[in-house]
């Protein structure tokens, strides 16, 4: 199936859409993202409903959250979204090496974000904000932790894709995978926009 796309060793423009399989992958992934939207929506609605249910003596959002850490995490994730755009653009101009480097940088930013989140959660636990402390803490950890799990999954996914491209090269079979992983990474970034707005900033306001 991929054979005819390599007649002169050159990939077609937008190789992720060169085959029907690739186009179906992209469309199917959009439907998956619709489902993911619902998943995060339910977690957001639970958090919004429970965020003031702190209980006596337990830390509130305003006491816990430290804006500099959250701001740093936000900039890291935003930048990683841009680097994944650069990876897709390199893919579109058939520059495999630069695509791989941009993907590596994206993974590194993802890992930095995860490290920051682990450090943050660790701090919260030491301040008495455990998973079972209050309805607020449970819904907080479920929502933000689920997002963190998505980042972890993305990091693993993109790492495996890098290995696959190194082994099999960039062709009309591997290109849709890279493209779809890029979409996933943007989606994670979009979810984080709502998390830092709804959870952290609104939590700080009160």
């Amino acid at each position: 199936m991929s054979g005819h796309a390599h007649v002169d060793g050159k990939l077609p423009h937008e190789p992720e859409k060169a085959t029907l399989e690739g186009r179906n992958k992209v469309l199917g992934f959009w439907l998956f993202l619709g489902g993911e939207t619902v998943l995060f929506g339910t977690l957001f609605s639970a958090f919004l409903a429970l965020r003031h249910q702190v209980g006596d003596g337990n830390p509130t959002a305003n006491e816990l959250f430290e804006l500099p850490t959250v701001a740093l995490a936000t900039f890291i994730l935003l930048t990683s979204s841009l680097t994944s755009v650069f990876a897709i653009q390199s893919m579109h101009t058939n520059k495999v090496k630069s695509m791989l480097w941009w993907l590596v940088i994206t993974v590194i930013f993802g890992l930095a974000f995860l490290g920051l989140e682990i450090y943050e959660f660790n701090n919260y636990v030491h301040e008495g904000h455990k998973f079972s402390t209050s309805a607020f803490s449970s819904s907080f950890y479920t929502l933000v932790g689920f997002h963190g799990a998505h980042v972890l999954f993305g990091v693993l996914w993109i790492s495996i894709l890098i290995a696959q491209v190194l082994k099999k090269g960039l062709n009309v079979v591997t290109a849709p995978k890279i493209y779809v992983a890029g979409m996933y990474w943007h989606f994670i970034d979009v979810v984080w926009v709502f998390i830092f707005t709804v959870v952290y900033l609104m939590g700080k306001v009160g």
């Binding site: 992209v26 959009w30 993911e36 939207t37 619902v38 339910t42 919004l48 935003l78 926009v193 700080k204």
Partner: protein, 105 residues
């Protein structure tokens, strides 16, 4: 086959203009919106309702920019993706409104 190659080459030419520029502009725009959102909360002392509304508006603008440019939703042939995501968003709004204004009070 020659025809396919030709059209592929033509397409490459047509897409040449689509450089990283608009993506960087989208990035700078996102960063600016983020800085404004954080700065507003850090400054404090402003009307809470006003901050709430502004935060949501800026988050929505940022999401539209990122989905439009980075996820290529503004490009042609993205009707089904838009329908798919809007279906999700519709369910989400229903759930959020239900949890916030109906089940809880």
């Amino acid at each position: 086959m020659a025809g396919t190659q030709h059209s592929a080459a033509e397409e490459n030419k047509r897409h040449k203009h689509e450089g990283p520029k608009k993506h960087i502009i989208a990035f700078i725009f996102s960063i600016l919106l983020t800085i404004i959102a954080f700065a507003m909360v850090a400054a404090g002392e402003i009307n809470t309702t006003f901050i709430y509304v502004m935060l949501v508006v800026m988050a929505l603008i940022q999401v539209f920019v990122q989905m439009g440019f980075w996820m290529h939703m503004k490009d042609r042939g993205h009707v089904f993706p838009i329908v798919g995501i809007l279906g999700g968003v519709f369910v989400v709004f229903t759930i959020v409104i239900m949890a916030e204004y109906w089940a809880w009070w």
